[in-house]
Structure formats: structure tokens, C-alpha cells
């Protein structure tokens, strides 16, 4: 139970590499916060600084009001699940879990009770006497989780704990991790590069790029109200469609124009763009917000390049110049490739971005 604050946290490796560029962040009590970003964006480095495994170049880390920036890892009251699990190969599962408790000088019966409790929670009770090499990858991952929750830390850190599992197990395990969180309510910082993983477990998502925070928000916020082209592109599969358009006024109506499309804007959208002084911008629209419609209501008509049936829906791709526009459409009627599709854009789901900065307008 704790809150964590990062103030202007910076990490430099040598002179040139700045892995984390002065990030500010607050993690609320009991929150499941996910650090999300492409690989190399500084997620691991941030997590390791919080853990005390990486020296902080600049800034502060404050846990429950206490500045822990310069404390060694053991004094921080945190625990961590490593990407490689880092379970100790020369100790049994039991000893792995009991390691921290013994160092805390907990008495034997209490250690035993705690070990069995967390082993039950993570479903490894029958493996307590085994060595890690006698376990599968998934079981080893559970040992790492059990070891981390046994110490009842203020803060729980996880560095891509699911990335070494196969796809099916990964999905099952993330549900379990969330369920464990519902029981422990431990404040958690979870690192991943997988946006669907982040969307499915996070209370809030922090999206990072090149050592900087791009956006912080709930999964719904970062999905619906993406702060930049980068975020809108990174979140969601298939990602947001982007069209370079020009803003044209004809009489009272504002139009978004490019060689393929001339899209009149609704009053709200027009109001949003009123203060914008440039003519060129980027239109972003999520694939499920482009609807198939009849020829006379279409904003755009084009030949279908491919249609990928997904069971519950189908993904239709049309080619505009050399860019693909993807549409998530109902499974029926089935669209055939080569067929002309008529598309209309949901006005309330149009998002506008500055072409230079990529920021949302």
C-alpha cells in the first residue's frame, strides 16, 4: 500500500546515451500502472532505477513520502519480477520464496505459513521441493511471482514478466496476475512493450518513447483520446489510420480534402479546428470507426485490396496511393477482394493531429 512519485527522473549512460529524460510520474495507492513503449524507450531503465539497481543520474524517487533515491535495493521495501525470472537455480522453490523472509528474520512457522499461502495463490504448491530446472518456463515464472508477493512489499515491480511465455499462456497468466492484484491490492508498476497486454491489465498506462513520457491515462483515454500520432499508432490493432489532408472552407462548411476524399466536418469538429491556423493536418481514425455503407452515402469509395476474416469480424484493407486504410467491419456481408467498398467516417471519432509535431489538435 503505497504511492510512488518520480520527479524529473533522469538516467544517462556515459556521455551520449540518455535513456530516461527527466520523467515525472505519480503512481497511486493500489494502482496497477503499466509502462508501455517500444523496445529501447527506457522502460527497464526506469524500473531498475525505482528498484535501486541502477544509479539515478538526476531527479528523485519518492515512496510514501520518503526519498528513496539513494537507498540500496534492500531498504526500499519493494519487490520485483525479472524478465528472465532470476529464480535461483541452486535453491528449491521453497527456498527461493523463503529467501527474503529468512533475511527478514521472520520466525520459522510464519515463514512456512507465508510460503504455502503464496504458493497456493500462484498454484505452485506441489512444486515446493523442486529445483527450478525441474520446472517449465511458466512454472518458473510463477515462482518469481510467488517470491515477489511473499515479502508483501509496498511496491511491486514487473519487467515484462510474460514475454518469455508462449502466446496462449501469456494471455492466461496476465489474467491471473490481475486476479492476484485484486487480492493483494499492491501498488504495481508493470513494464511491457505489448499494447494489448497493457490495455487488458492496466489501471493507467504510461506510454514512453525515447526516454520521455508521451501520454498517461486509462486504457480508454489513451485509446480514444490519443495525445499524438505516435500514441494513436502504437495503441490498438490494427492501428489508427492516418490521412494527410488539407483544411478547405467552402461557404459555411469546413472540408478535409485530399485526392481521394472530400469530407465535410460536423459543427463540433469544425469548432475544434477553428483556432487552428495551419491548412495542412493529419486525420486519424480508428479502423472500427470507418463504416461500410451504400454508394450514395459514401465519403470514400475504393477497391478492396484484401479482406481478412477474423471470425467475429473482418479486416478490410483498401489502398490509397501507397498507404493502406484498414477497416474493421462486421463479419457479414463478406467483402471480396477487388470489390468496391463504400466507406463513411464516424464524425465523432475523427481525430486531428498536427503534421509537424504529431500532437493532437
Amino acid at each position: 500500500m503505497a504511492t510512488l512519485q518520480l520527479k524529473n527522473l533522469t538516467k544517462r549512460f556515459g556521455k551520449k546515451v540518455v535513456a530516461v529524460k527527466g520523467i515525472n510520474l505519480e503512481v497511486h495507492d493500489g494502482e496497477y500502472l503499466v509502462l508501455l513503449g517500444p523496445s529501447g524507450c527506457g522502460k527497464t531503465t526506469t524500473l531498475r532505477m525505482i528498484a535501486g539497481l541502477e544509479e539515478v543520474t538526476d531527479g528523485e524517487i519518492i515512496l510514501d513520502g520518503v526519498d528513496i533515491t539513494d537507498l540500496p535495493p534492500r531498504k526500499r521495501d519493494i519487490s520485483m519480477v525479472f524478465q528472465s525470472y532470476a529464480v535461483w537455480p541452486h535453491m528449491t522453490v521453497y527456498d527461493n520464496i523463503a529467501f527474503a523472509l529468512r533475511l527478514k528474520k521472520m520466525n520459522r512457522s510464519e515463514i512456512d505459513r507465508t510460503v504455502r499461502e503464496v504458493a497456493g495463490m500462484t498454484k505452485i504448491a506441489e512444486f515446493l521441493d523442486r529445483y527450478p530446472f525441474q520446472l517449465s518456463g511458466g512454472q518458473r515464472q510463477r515462482v518469481a511471482v510467488a517470491r515477489a508477493i511473499a515479502v508483501k512489499p509496498k511496491l511491486f515491480l514487473m519487467d515484462e514478466p510474460l514475454s518469455n511465455l508462449d502466446a496462449k499462456l501469456r494471455v492466461a497468466t496476465r489474467t491471473e496476475l490481475k486476479a492476484i492484484h485484486h487480492k493483494t491490492h499492491a501498488t504495481t508498476v508493470f513494464v511491457t512493450h505489448d499494447q494489448s497486454e497493457a490495455m487488458s491489465i492496466a489501471d493507467r498506462i504510461v506510454i514512453m518513447k525515447d526516454g520521455e513520457i508521451m501520454q498517461i491515462g486509462t486504457p480508454e483515454e489513451v485509446y480514444d483520446q490519443s495525445a499524438s500520432i505516435f500514441v494513436a499508432d502504437f495503441i490498438g490493432t490494427p492501428p489508427t489510420n492516418f490521412l494527410d489532408v488539407e483544411l478547405v472552407r467552402e461557404g459555411e462548411t469546413l472540408y478535409l480534402v485530399n485526392p481521394h476524399i472530400k469530407l465535410p466536418l460536423s459543427a463540433e469538429n469544425a469548432a475544434r479546428l477553428r483556432g487552428y491556423d495551419k491548412r495542412e493536418l493529419v486525420l486519424g481514425i480508428r479502423p472500427e470507426n470507418i463504416l461500410l455503407t451504400s454508394a450514395d452515402e459514401a465519403d470514400l469509395s475504393a477497391a478492396c485490396l484484401v479482406a481478412e476474416p477474423q471470425g467475429s469480424h473482418q479486416v478490410v484493407a483498401v489502398e490509397l496511393d501507397d498507404k493502406l486504410l484498414k477497416i474493421v467491419a462486421p463479419a457479414r456481408p463478406k467483402v471480396r477482394s477487388g470489390e468496391t467498398v463504400h466507406l463513411t467516417f464516424k464524425q465523432e471519432s475523427l481525430r486531428f493531429f498536427d503534421r509537424e509535431s504529431g500532437a493532437r489538435i
Binding site: 540500496p72 525479472f82 529464480v87 535461483w88 537455480p89 541452486h90 529467501f99 533475511l103 515479502v151
Partner: protein, 355 residues
């Protein structure tokens, strides 16, 4: 002949050739070992007869008759299957010594006199004595440097222990640093530690003597173990560096996160995981220090090591190849025992735990 049988024949031939090769190599390695073991149990007479007996005799069958100069002593030769005369003397003292030193089946003078008394009634007389198999070993310890063998043995073990301790602590720490930290000139430095092994010991013997005398370590176990450590530290660094590199840093980091200090993390995680490598280093250091003779001869005076004592005894035992063999065996045995124990340990660790 079908294709299948031809393939079978080919495979059988290949397998046979392989086994012949393997047994050849095995024999080539085991045969010298067998001979030195067997030789160390032979009496001098057995050791110098031709062909050499494959196994030492357990008993000596004597035959005694009257001879030209006194009494004629013959012994039964199990290979030629006949009694062969070995001595013609009236000096019973001499006969007793001969029985002991050449035949390995000693009899005291009164015992010989008893047998001579029997000659009155019957000639020749036959009698059998149990051979003392360990005679060569006893002699070795008696002869070697007039009672120096046991103290030298203890001294050698002491030197080995110190060499292991010094090279494991210094070499292990350096290996850890090479494995875990990046610093300027690391690779060059790591490579350069091998330079100390380039010089033959004899070439730098004089400077070593002078330095050790100045340090007050000449003719002392600590002096020798320092000299031996120089060589084994270099190898220890290389072995432990690669072992430590193979142990993920995250294991240590995890220990730190879960409440351990840096030292505790090392002692509880990295050290146990690196034990097989350290054991290998210990073995190497032991064997190096135990077997080394040249530097030991130069750097000791009144306190020789065991290898020096063996060396001197072997030199002194001209014409007694069986005694030399016994010395060799005594020399080899501790090394074999040590290797055996530590090897089992290495195997156990590597078999049971994978990092």
C-alpha cells in the same frame, strides 16, 4: 548381397574400428600406470629379472643347501619354474640382509640358523616366507632424507593449502571484476595476466631467491606458495571470469532486491553457483603446487617439499627402480585422492544445477 546387409556390414566394421581405436588409446594410457603400480610392489630381484613379472609374488620359496663358500641359497622362479641360485655365502648376516633388501622376504639370523640346523638331517631344505609387499614403501620413508619424508609431506600439504587459498581469493576476486565490470583496458589486462606463465621457472630462479630472501620467506612454505600462486592465479582468473560471466547478474540483483547486501548476494547466490569452477581451480592449484620440483629445489634448503624428497630418493636409488616406483606412487597418491574427491564434487554440481 542386399543393400541392407551391405549397410549392416559397413556399420559393424565402422563400430569395430572405433572400439579398437578406443581400446588402443585406453591401453596406451593405462599400461604405464599399471607398470608403475606393479613395479612398486616388486622386490629388487623381481624388478630386474627378464621378462618382468606381471604381478608381484606373494610368497618366496627358499631352497638351502651346502655350497662352496658356505651355504647356497636358491629361490623358486615362478616364470622359469625352477630354483635359481642367488647367493653362496657363509655369512648369515649378509644372507639376512640380502633376503630383506633383494627378495623382500626377510628372515632374522636365528631363523636362518634354525633352517641350517635342519641341513644336518636332509639336504636341501625347503621353506617358504611371506613376502612383505610394502617393503619398498617402508624403505622409501626410511631412506628418504633420513626421516624427512613425513615432515616434508606435511609441509607440502601446507604449501598446497596456502596456494589454493591465495590463488582462489586473489584470482577469484580478479575474475569477478573482469566478469562483472567494464573498465578501460580490461581485455588487455586480462590477457596480460597470462604473461607470468611465459617464463620458465629456472630462468627467473635467481631473482626469485633474492626477493624471497629479502622478504624473509626463503626456505619457508609461504615463500613457495607465493611463487606457485603467481602461476595459478593467472589461470584462476581466466576460469573464474568465465564462470562468473555465465552466472546472470540478475540472480545477484534479485538477491539484493529481496533483502541481501551486495556481499550477501555474492556469498549466497554467486558463490554457490560458481563452486564447480572454483573446485576446478583448486584442483589445478593443488596439482601445480604438489608436483612442482624445480623451483622447490632452488627455493628450499633445510625444509624441502615432498616432491624434492622424492626426487632425491629416486636419484639416490640407483639400481632400485622398484623403490623409485614406490616413491612415485607416494607422490601421486595424494594428488589422485584430491582429484578424485573434487572431481566428484564438480560432477555433482554440474550434473545437478544448470544456471
Amino acid at each position: 548381397m542386399t543393400k541392407k546387409t551391405r549397410r549392416n556390414i559397413y556399420r559393424t566394421a565402422r563400430l569395430t574400428a572405433f572400439y579398437i581405436f578406443v581400446s588402443g588409446v585406453t591401453i596406451a594410457m593405462l599400461l604405464p600406470l599399471y607398470f608403475i603400480v606393479s613395479l612398486s610392489f616388486l622386490s629388487t630381484r623381481e624388478a630386474y629379472r627378464y621378462p618382468l613379472p606381471l604381478l608381484p609374488a606373494l610368497n618366496v620359496e627358499y631352497k638351502l643347501t651346502h655350497g662352496e663358500r658356505g651355504y647356497l641359497l636358491s629361490v623358486y622362479d615362478p616364470i622359469d619354474k625352477e630354483y635359481q641360485t642367488v647367493l653362496d655365502t657363509g655369512d648369515l648376516e649378509k644372507m639376512s640382509v640380502y633376503m630383506k633388501s633383494q627378495l623382500g622376504a626377510p628372515m632374522s639370523v636365528p631363523e636362518i640358523e634354525q633352517q641350517i640346523a635342519r641341513l644336518e638331517h636332509e639336504a636341501p631344505v625347503f621353506f617358504t616366507r611371506r613376502k612383505s609387499l610394502l617393503y619398498n614403501y617402508e624403505t622409501f620413508f626410511k631412506v628418504a632424507g633420513t626421516g624427512q619424508a613425513v615432515p616434508a609431506l606435511i609441509r607440502s600439504l601446507e604449501i598446497c593449502a596456502m596456494t589454493i587459498a591465495i590463488s582462489l581469493t586473489i584470482g577469484g576476486m580478479a575474475g569477478y571484476a573482469f566478469a562483472r565490470y567494464t573498465f578501460r583496458g580490461r581485455d588487455a589486462l586480462k590477457f596480460s595476466v597470462l604473461f607470468v606463465r611465459m617464463f620458465p621457472g629456472v630462468a627467473i630462479a635467481m631473482p626469485m631467491v633474492i626477493i624471497l630472501v629479502n622478504m624473509g620467506f626463503y626456505d619457508a612454505p609461504i615463500g613457495l606458495s607465493l611463487v606457485y600462486s603467481v602461476g595459478s592465479i593467472a589461470l584462476t582468473i581466466w576460469i573464474t571470469a568465465s564462470i562468473f560471466m555465465g552466472i546472470p547478474v540478475s540472480l545477484e540483483e534479485a538477491a539484493q532486491v529481496f533483502g541481501a547486501t551486495k556481499i550477501q548476494a555474492f556469498l549466497r547466490v554467486t558463490l554457490p553457483l560458481s563452486l564447480p569452477g572454483l573446485a576446478a581451480c583448486a584442483m589445478y592449484a593443488f596439482l601445480g603446487a604438489w608436483n612442482e620440483t624445480v623451483a622447490a629445489i632452488i627455493l628450499t634448503q633445510f625444509n624441502p617439499t615432498f616432491s624434492v624428497v622424492v626426487y632425491q630418493t629416486v636419484l639416490g636409488a640407483v639400481g632400485q627402480v622398484n623403490l623409485a616406483a614406490a616413491g612415485g606412487m607416494v607422490m601421486a597418491l595424494p594428488a589422485v585422492i584430491f582429484t578424485f574427491f573434487i572431481r566428484r564434487y564438480i560432477h555433482q554440481m554440474w550434473g545437478g544445477v544448470t544456471v
